[in-house]
Amino acid sequence: MTKPRLGIFSLTGCAGDQLQILNMEDELLNLVARFHIVDFQEGSSHKESGPIDIAFVEGSVSTETDLRHLKEIRERSSVLIAFGNCATDGCVQAMRNGETTLAQRLKDVYGVEPDYYDALESKPIREYVKVDFSIPGCPVEKDEVVKAITSLLHGDSPLGYSYPVCVECKLHEYPCVIVEDNKPCLGPVVRAGCEARCPGLGLDCIGCRGPVEDGSNFAAELQMLLDKGYTEEFIMNRLRIFSGELPEDFLGGAK
C-alpha cells in the first residue's frame, strides 16, 4: 500500500502545534513511518510539490502571503485539517477584530500606513477555505492528534469534542470552581479534550480550546457571570483571548 502523503503547514502563529507533533516522542517514529511527508517546516527542510492526502494547517490567515499559501494548500489536498486555535478560531492575533479597523491598528501600533505590510485582518482559515476537520487547542493536545490521525489512517472521519470541559471536569471529580468559588470559568461553553486541566489545578477555564459550537448556551454563561458581578467586557475579553473570531451562531442563546 502506498503511504498517504502528509503535509504540515504553518500560517501566522507560534508554530507551537507543529512543535506538539515533534513532542510526541513515543509515537513520532511510528507516525513518520506511516506517511510520506511532503512538508513539515518545523521537522525538516525537505519539501515536495504535488498532491497531498492530508494537510494540517496551523496559524491564522494574517497576510496576503498566508492567504495565497492557504489556497494553494487547499487545492493540493484531499483532506484539510485546521490545526490549533489560530487556525480554528483566530486566537490572540484576532482578539481585537471588529473593535477598530486594521488600518487604525497598524497606525496605532506600528505607526505605518495600511499598505506598509501585506497584512490582512487575522482570521481563522474557515473564513477562506473549506475545512474538513478541526483540532483545536493552544496548543493542540497530543492525544487528540494521534486519535485523529489513526481515524484517518483507518478510513474513518475523526471524532471531535462536541461537549464542554465540564464533562471531563466531572469525570475527574474536580471541584467546580464556579460552584465552590464563583470563579469565572468558561468550561461550560468551551470544547473538552484537555481533561479539564485548569479546574484540575483549581483554576477557571480561560477557553484555550475555543467554543463548543453546537449545543452550548453562551447567553446563559454570560448572564450567569454577570449575575456574579463580572462585567461583560471582562467576560468577552476572556473568551476572545483564544477565539478572536467566534462562530456566527455561538453568541446566541439556548440551542
Partner: protein
C-alpha cells in the same frame, strides 16, 4: 432483620477488620460543598458525618471512564483490564446512594448483565451509614431515605454506639467473624434508634409530592416552563454526571498508530448534551436544549418498578453551575408554586 450494636470506641477495630475484605474507600472532605469517596488507610482520614459527595459511589462499579478491553487485530484476541476483580469495601454509603445502586444493579446485573459491574459488586462490601438531611435533600419524598437491601451492613448513629443492621449473608458472616466487636442490642439501644429516626425524619426541609407525578409531567409537556429553564441552562451535563441514578454511557473504540492494537473505552454520558440524541443519518431526536431539559426531568420523575429515577440526593441542584433547582422545577410542574 439481624441487629447488632457496635460501640463507637470499637470503630478503629471495626475499620481494621474491614480492611481484611479489601481496599477501604470512604467519604473524605473535599470542598465546602462536598466530600469525595476515595481510598483511606486509617479511620482518622474519613468523615462519616458527611452530607454528600459530588460524585456518587456508583463510580466504583461503573467507572466514569474506563477501558473495557484492549484488542489485537493480528492475533484476533482481546484482553480485559486487570483491575476488574479487585476487592473493595465501600464504607459510609448513604441510603439514597444505596437505593440508587439497587436500580443500577437491576440494570447492570439482571437486565443487561455487565461483567464489570457484576464482578465488582461481587467483590465488594457495602457498609451504609445513617445521615442528617440538609436543605437540599428530599429522599424522604422519593421514598429512598431508608435502605432495605443492597448493603452488607448499615450503621445507624445512636449516640455513642451504632445500631448495625445486617443486609446480606456476607454481612452476617462479617459480624460472625468479628463477634468480639459486636453486642446484642438492649432495650435502650432500640429506643435510641427510634428517637434518632424520628429526628432524622423531621429534619427534612423540602419535599415534592410523588403521587401521580408522571401524569403531571405528561400534562406539562407543552408548558412554557421548559423553555424558561432552558434559557438559563448551560447544557454542561453536570446534573447527569453527578446523579447516582443516571446510567447513560458512551462507548468508543480507539486504535493505536500501529493500526493493529487498540482499546474500547466507556465513559459516562449526559442527556443534556446535544449529541446524546444524535443517531445515524444525522437525525437528532432532541435537537433543542428545551427538549433535552424536558426529557431529563421526565426521566427523573418517572417510575421504574415502583422506584422513581431520582433518589432525592440533591446533587443536581447543588452542583449545577447555573443554579437550576431540580425540586423547584418539579414543584412548578405540580402547580405547587408558580
Amino acid at each position: 432483620m439481624l441487629i447488632n450494636i457496635l460501640e463507637k470506641e470499637n470503630l478503629v477495630e471495626f475499620f481494621e477488620a474491614m480492611q481484611s475484605y479489601g481496599e477501604v474507600v470512604a467519604p473524605v472532605r473535599a470542598t465546602d460543598n462536598a466530600h469525595r469517596f476515595q481510598p483511606v488507610k486509617g479511620i482518622d482520614e474519613l468523615d462519616l458525618d458527611y452530607t454528600r459527595t459530588m460524585i456518587p459511589p456508583k463510580k466504583y462499579f461503573i467507572q466514569p471512564k474506563e477501558t473495557l478491553f484492549t484488542f489485537n487485530k493480528e492475533k484476533e484476541k482481546y484482553l480485559e483490564p486487570p483491575s476488574i476483580d479487585k476487592s473493595m469495601v465501600l464504607l459510609g454509603v448513604h441510603a439514597c446512594d444505596i437505593n440508587a445502586m439497587n436500580l443500577l444493579a437491576r440494570v447492570f446485573m439482571e437486565e443487561l448483565p455487565d461483567k464489570y459491574y457484576l464482578e465488582r459488586r461481587k467483590n465488594s462490601v457495602i457498609v451504609g451509614v445513617s445521615c442528617t438531611p440538609d436543605e437540599k435533600c428530599f429522599c424522604k419524598s422519593t421514598g429512598t431515605d431508608y435502605a432495605q437491601e443492597g448493603f452488607e451492613l448499615f450503621l445507624h448513629d445512636i449516640g455513642d454506639k451504632y445500631l448495625v443492621r445486617v443486609g446480606s449473608l456476607k454481612g452476617h458472616n462479617i459480624v460472625k467473624d468479628h463477634s468480639e466487636l459486636f453486642a446484642a442490642p438492649e432495650k435502650g439501644d432500640l429506643d435510641a434508634f427510634k428517637e434518632a429516626e424520628k429526628t432524622r425524619l423531621s429534619s427534612f426541609t423540602i419535599e415534592i409530592e410523588m403521587s401521580g407525578l408522571q401524569d403531571h409531567l405528561d400534562m406539562s409537556y407543552d408548558d412554557p416552563l421548559w423553555a424558561e429553564y432552558a434559557e438559563k441552562c448551560l447544557g454542561c451535563g453536570s446534573c447527569n454526571l453527578v446523579c447516582p441514578r443516571c446510567r447513560c454511557y458512551d462507548v468508543q473504540d480507539y486504535i493505536n498508530l500501529d493500526m493493529n492494537t487498540g482499546e474500547r473505552v466507556r465513559m459516562w454520558y449526559s442527556c443534556m448534551l446535544k449529541d446524546h440524541g444524535l443517531v445515524a443519518g444525522g437525525h437528532n431526536f432532541r435537537p433543542t436544549s428545551m427538549e433535552r431539559l424536558r426529557n431529563r426531568i421526565n426521566c427523573k420523575g418517572s417510575l421504574r418498578e415502583e422506584m422513581p429515577n431520582c433518589v432525592g440526593c440533591g446533587r443536581c441542584t447543588v452542583f449545577c453551575p447555573a443554579d437550576i433547582d431540580f425540586v423547584e422545577i418539579l414543584q412548578k410542574v405540580r402547580g405547587d408554586i408558580k
